[in-house]
Symmetry: C2
Subunit: 119 residues, 2 copies
């Protein structure tokens, strides 16, 4: 497995398993996150974004993961009570075993629709 992928897969396994402490151990103090709603800076902002989602998670499946020395791509599916199937992808830059840049893409629309329907 590539060096970056070791880190990325460990990060994914940790947060999707609900262990945000373990997840953040793979994240640089200077991480920059490019998420659909905008940029986040630092592990605290990343954790504040991911932890509520991790708590909602009914299941997740890592469909594919690839990487080289300093970059990794993950493609996964998630299931929550809000959205039965919400796929997502992440692109990580990894330096010295820590994720320094984390780009993620998912479709916010079904989450917005579910929240609107719930009032």
């Amino acid at each position: 497995m590539s060096k970056a992928l070791d880190t990325s897969v460990a990060y994914f396994a940790a947060w999707s398993g609900g262990d945000l402490d373990a997840a953040m151990a793979h994240v640089s103090p200077d991480v920059v996150v490019v998420a659909p709603a905008g940029r986040l800076h630092g592990p605290d902002q990343l954790r504040a974004f991911m932890e509520p989602f991790a708590r909602m998670l009914l299941s997740s499946a890592l469909l594919s993961a690839f990487g080289d020395d300093d970059t990794a791509l993950l493609y996964y599916d998630t299931s929550t009570a809000l959205v039965a199937s919400a796929p997502a992808a992440e692109r990580h830059t990894v330096v010295d075993g820590l994720i320094t840049e984390l780009q993620m893409v998912f479709d916010r629309l079904p989450f917005e629709q579910a929240r609107a329907a719930a009032g």
Copy 2:
């Protein structure tokens, strides 16, 4: 480069360059597409979905691409007049040089918002 990635990168280069004929030459007649709005079946439905977007495209950048013998992941950014930066990811299953399954993820929300704002 992996066998799947050859096909996937050629497909991406073709559609993002506006050549949908060339893109569809890399797609199986039996392709199943899992897109944010639902499933599409066959190259005609895929083309009807991608061609209007390809025509809107101001620029695109393939940020990372990885694969193995039968799977490829692409992570890219796109720019259109509607949405200045709309990243997306695709996961392809490739058999005998043709994409047989194409999963894609992007955030529909900014496109919906832009269309609503435009009336």
